[in-house]
């Protein structure tokens, strides 16, 4: 079965086909017995959809190794089933916002709406914007900044690849642990004042938390 260890990427969202099931089946027909990475593009797949994909792959003697997708829903589902999964950010020039004559590019910002619950993990190769809470036991990370429109109660890691300029901002910053680049800090013991958004950043080799300022 493992005659070749090469990984073949199978895109299951193709306009040539009616839906992903038909697409997957017809593509697997050609690729019998290989290791597969599924690229589901922007499809939102649930755990049961992913189980279905694995079932279909087994019929064609194929082994699913990993998933990649631009949908964070799909990433969370495939991760909860124990697959290596990677979030991909679509590059598009449309995502530019003009504020105070400054161009803010959102081309590398990933947006996730909803609560990240205990045991879940979300990672972004760019910046990460979360509309919702990050609960205790959950982990979020990004190569750039992390902005949480909600409460941060879990673990956040900004500047995952070593960018020490990265920041972590939240409406309520009460994390278990904060990481920026290669620095680790435990969350503050005292509850923050209600109603003031806060930001964590590195200042003189230490992670500090201060009220969020926008310049």
């Amino acid at each position: 079965m493992n005659s070749n260890n090469q990984k073949i990427i199978v895109n299951i969202k193709d306009i040539k086909y009616q839906n992903w099931e038909i697409c997957l089946k017809s593509k697997l027909k050609i690729l019998k017995s290989s290791n597969i990475e599924i690229d589901s593009k922007n499809l939102d797949l649930s755990c049961s959809d992913i189980s279905e994909i694995i079932k279909i792959a087994n019929q064609y003697n194929c082994k699913i190794i990993s998933f990649c997708s631009t949908s964070s829903k799909t990433i969370v589902s495939s991760q909860s089933l124990g697959f290596k999964s990677q979030l991909i950010i679509e590059n598009s020039s449309k995502n530019t916002l003009k504020i105070n004559q400054k161009n803010l590019t959102f081309s590398k910002t990933h947006f996730h709406q909803g609560t990240i619950r205990s045991g879940e993990y979300l990672d972004s190769p760019g910046d990460l914007l979360i509309l919702g809470d990050v609960n205790p036991g959950a982990k979020v990370s990004a190569e750039g900044n992390i902005i949480i429109w909600g409460r941060l109660l879990g673990i956040a890691h900004a500047g995952r690849e070593g960018n020490s300029q990265a920041t972590i901002s939240a409406l309520q910053l009460r994390p278990v642990q904060l990481r920026i680049a290669n620095k680790v800090a435990r969350g503050p013991k005292t509850k923050p004042q209600f109603g003031i958004a806060e930001q964590a950043r590195i200042d003189s080799e230490e992670i500090i938390i201060s009220p969020l300022e926008t310049k």
Binding site: C47, K73, T115, R117, D133, N135, P136
Partner: protein
């Protein structure tokens, strides 16, 4: 199959009762909810999916009546009605053990679906008592459910595990998911020694189906094999279970206020002082 002649009910509610952490009261809730629903005239089946460590039969006092399990039904060694164990006093309630404690890994999600489909033909409610943990046992039990009740206690570890379970339920498109907060001690809550209701609902962000007050009678009834709701003694927990059963059917019953329940004149007096009525 003989099933094809019967009409399939579409209004059956299949409810998973789960928690993540063990010992928070899943089985007790399943048993009491089953009895309460049955007493309101609804035919109810309780399915013990925690067959490795099965307890539901003990709680219902039906241990000595079990002959077959769902496993034998699926292998066509017996009929479904032979495996269903009717409750002694509450004839609307039936128990189906999913399997034998000795056969640990026979059940697959497909099997679960077949069992539940069979039960759906006969019952208004199917309550599935889920095993603790988030591994295969939980995934099997989840595979055949439409909605879920998450049971948790007002303590950090139980809330954390419940949160994990809710995440898994959400990614599997199980809706609605409702919350039952079990073993609430009003006195400790009033003194802020225990997580408050708001603390819990803040993190879990689920609609609260009900609170169950801590009650020593629960232990007594478990040991006797007679669920509290069966004899409707004046027990606080039994009242809570009955309210949950009514709310489950859409009745609008206000939640009890734990502050009202914290007994003792001293506590009530102190509260009055705090509210500055005097």
């Amino acid at each position: 199959m003989t099933n094809s002649r019967r009409s399939v009910r579409t209004d059956t509610r299949v409810i998973l009762i789960c928690s993540g952490k063990g010992g928070v009261g899943k089985t007790t809730l399943t048993a009491n909810l089953g009895i309460s629903l049955a007493r309101q005239g609804l035919s109810t089946a309780v399915l013990d999916a925690d067959f490795g460590l099965r307890n539901l039969d003990l709680l219902l006092g039906l241990e000595n009546r079990i002959v077959y399990t769902a496993q034998e039904v699926l292998e066509e060694e017996c009929r479904l009605d032979q495996a269903l164990v009717k409750h002694k006093q509450e004839s609307n309630l039936s128990l189906l053990p999913a399997g034998n404690p000795r056969m640990l890994d026979w059940l697959k999600p497909d099997d679960m679906q077949r069992i539940v489909d069979m039960l759906k033909e006969q019952f208004n409610y199917v309550l599935i008592d889920c095993p603790a943990g988030v591994e295969d046992g939980f995934k099997n039990a989840m595979s055949a459910s439409q909605e879920a009740i998450v049971v948790t206690n007002p303590e950090v570890s139980a809330v954390r595990d419940a949160d994990r379970v809710i995440g898994l339920l959400n990614t599997n498109a199980i809706k609605p998911v409702q919350l039952v907060l079990n073993r609430v001690r009003p006195k400790m809550m009033a003194n802020q020694e225990m997580l408050s209701i708001d603390d819990v609902t803040d993190i879990l962000a689920l609609p609260l189906l009900g609170l169950v007050l801590e009650d020593e009678q629960v232990i007594v009834s478990t040991n006797r094999g007679e669920p509290l709701t069966l004899n409707s003694v004046n027990s606080p927990a039994a009242k809570c279970y009955l309210n949950i059963a009514k709310r489950l059917q859409g009745e609008d019953i206000p939640l009890i206020d734990p502050a009202e329940e914290s007994s003792g004149i001293g506590a009530k007096f102190r509260r009055l002082m705090q509210t500055k009525i005097f």
